[in-house]
Amino acid sequence: MSDYFFFIGLPYAALVVVIVGTLFRYLNFGFGVSSLSSQFLESRELYYGSRPFHWGIIFLFFGHLVAFLFPAEVLLWNSVPVRLLILEIAAFGFGIAALVGLVILVIRRLKNKRIRVVTSKMDVVVYVVLAVQIITGLWIALFFRWGSSWFASTLTPYMRSIFLFNPDIAAVTNLPLFAKIHIVSAFTLIGLIPCTRFMHFLVYPFRYLWRSPLYVIWNWDRKQIRATRNLYNGVKQKNT
């Protein structure tokens, strides 16, 4: 019974919360949508924590995404033992980087009084969920090899069934406990996005890449302002 709750109820609850919640927060409380950077208060330890953590977690995220979207290709890649080893060791390395970074970040937040001032209750939740997620992930990689291969036969069908609204949990109920925890905490993490600083990765500024360096905004259309016939027909500027 609990399997139904954890592997069907929780995922759908998380997906609903993340879609409705992020929209609600972005539209109504957009001011707070960012990760409250504390670099200004403490910079040096942040460097050793934030850089490895972020690069680690980004590569792991995209690794999981590729395994979910292209299971056949990943299996094909893994058919040569050397390539399997390279993939697993690289993934494990990024996991270690993320864990080390997270530990440094947690220590920094605990011991630095200035950082404690800008720590909210939800930040603690964020750290707990991330720690569980990364530690169980590393545990699985160590003791239930080779995840990049069995992922394709168990988790990809399960995830696909979730997204096709035809949930089939047969494959995941037989997984070891740590893998189950990993799945549950993954969906918890997704559900927490709108309630925490996780929001910041949804607003990563890709548009900056093709923006002009000088950004000028007019309060009115300066070529049209002089004509009274244009009254009430102006275009609202994007930035207001």
């Binding site: 707070g32 934030s50 850089r51 259309d221 102006g234």
Partner: protein, 496 residues
């Protein structure tokens, strides 16, 4: 030709008395909030000195401003790929230690302390953590400390000065200083705008004021690095960057900014400059020695019929053009050429100009005796107490010739006025310096008048902002009649 108008400023350094009233007015108006305690949108520095934040002019540390790259410019410490890949940790960002840890005193303890043997004291406490602390620096910690080892001698503008020349600057009888009040320069080529990944920072088209949209700012902090003047500050409590807004709500209602209104020495001038936006890139990307001249060439003569015609075609209001014609800034900067931008080598084309300080030699030591006489009435400009090279490093990207001409002009005005009011100078001593800088009596009198006698409305010529027309273009004002206002109404609170 793409003509735009820009609100520009002139600060007359000879008139600054270093009272910090401007800083206090600004602090009380805008930055007396949580997270903004350390910010001084307006600050006054003692030069020679290291300034606020510590050594802000040293771009080897902070990587602010632009680098010339071919026929264009590139951000030194930020930019598209560099910026987006260092968001997790920005390596060159100024942090709290570079400014100072804001502090207050536990005054209530003076009243609430229990009876005891000792007099209660008000201990200093951090305004961030609330813990007791020992203040070790502040926004004007080196105020008036010219010659100090810790500050004045660590000034970063000694490039090109030999050790002996530096030593001479700090000899007791020669030692001098001047104040440098700084606000945001509202640059024509703002590095903060180019560095902002979110596109939250923008330049207002109508008056060129550079602002940060608090709702779009996502705390990526690239602006703090990019601004070479370190005039964008990070609010640690709201997680947003903030900067001088040139008191735009005051400007829009025809009032001058708070720092200028309160200025005791009346050193500040504000007015409109018309400029050609098409020339921004080429002016920012030219060679070091041409930077100053090219920036001056961007600003256009508002009396020129061609310029007026093009400005009208570009939607600039007639009232703005009239203001540009009366602009005291145009007179100081273009007509008389006695005001210079601070550090043009940062390539942001700043719109705050300084009349450099004239620090004449009043005395010197010769043959072991303290000599107070000089060959002419005020001594030669070349022998002024601050080396020409030092001023050139501040105001003209190292070009001493420019500084010399400006100082000679200022000296000519002084000599002319001395002659007019007292008349005790030999004829040649007045006319020769005036002829040297090709200045006629009318110009000298005009400079004198605007420097010393001008009233409020001559020093500040604010164009009407026409916000009433602007808002009618955006909203039907009849529909929101009786409402409290437009726009941003969310409290700046964090949590989550």
């Amino acid at each position: 030709m793409d003509i735009r108008s820009q609100i520009a400023m002139v600060f007359h350094l000879d008139k600054c008395i270093g009272c910090h009233t401007c800083s206090i007015a600004c602090k009380n108006t805008w930055t007396n909030r949580k997270g903004a305690e350390y910010m001084w949108w307006n600050n006054v520095e003692t030069k020679p000195g290291t300034g606020y934040p510590h050594k802000w002019e040293d771009q080897n540390i902070y990587k602010g401003g632009w680098d010339k790259k071919g026929n264009s410019v590139r951000l030194k410490g930020a930019g598209k790929f560099k910026g987006l890949s260092t968001l997790f940790h920005n390596p060159n960002m100024a942090v709290l230690e570079d400014y100072y840890e804001p502090f207050t005193y536990r005054y209530e303890h003076l009243f609430e302390a229990k009876a005891g043997d000792d007099q209660p004291t008000a201990r200093p406490v951090s305004m961030i953590t609330g813990e007791p602390m020992t203040p070790k620096s502040g926004p004007n910690w080196d105020d008036d400390l010219s010659g100090s080892k810790e500050y004045a001698r660590k000034d970063v503008n000694f490039k090109g000065l030999s050790d002996a020349e530096q030593e001479a600057m700090f000899r007791l009888e020669r030692m001098t200083m001047h104040w440098l009040p700084r606000i945001c320069n509202h640059c024509l080529n703002p590095a903060c705008v180019a560095a902002c990944p979110s596109g939250a920072i923008y330049k207002r088209g109508e008056d060129g004021v550079v602002l940060i949209n608090q709702k779009k700012c996502r705390a990526w902090r690239m602006c703090v690095t990019a601004c070479p003047y370190k005039k964008v500050y990070y609010n640690w409590s709201t997680g947003k960057s903030e900067k001088c807004i040139l008191c735009y709500p005051r400007l829009e209602t025809g009032q001058i900014p708070a720092c200028m209104h309160t200025c005791v020495g009346r050193i500040r001038y504000l007015g409109v400059l018309l400029y050609d936006a098409d020339k921004i890139e080429s002016a920012a990307a030219c060679d070091d020695q041409d930077l100053l001249q090219n920036q001056m060439d961007i600003y256009l003569n508002p009396h020129d019929p061609e310029v007026i015609k093009a400005a009208r075609k570009n939607g600039i209001a007639d009232s703005t053009i009239t203001s540009a014609q009366k602009s005291p800034v145009y007179k100081f900067v273009k007509e008389w050429g006695v005001a210079l931008p601070l550090h043009p080598e940062f390539r942001t084309l700043p719109n705050l100009f300084y009349v450099p300080p004239l620090l004449p030699t009043m005395a010197f030591v010769e043959n072991e005796s303290y000599e107070t006489t000089s060959e002419s009435f005020w001594g030669a400009v070349e022998k002024s107490r601050l080396p020409m090279k030092y001023l050139a490093n501040l105001f003209s990207a190292g070009n001493e010739k420019v500084i010399e001409i400006v100082l000679k002009k200022l000296m000519a005005v002084r000599l002319h006025r001395r002659n007019e009011t007292v008349g005790d100078l030999p004829a040649g001593e007045v006319t020769d310096p005036m002829n040297e800088v090709k200045m006629d009596k009318e110009t000298a009198d005009a400079i004198f008048r605007l420097t010393s006698l001008a009233m409020h409305d001559e020093r500040f010529v604010i164009p009407p902002a026409h916000r009433e027309e602007a808002i009618e273009m955006i909203e039907n004002t009849a529909k929101v009649e009786g409402n409290t206002g437009f726009g941003f109404r969310e409290p700046p609170k964090r949590g989550l």
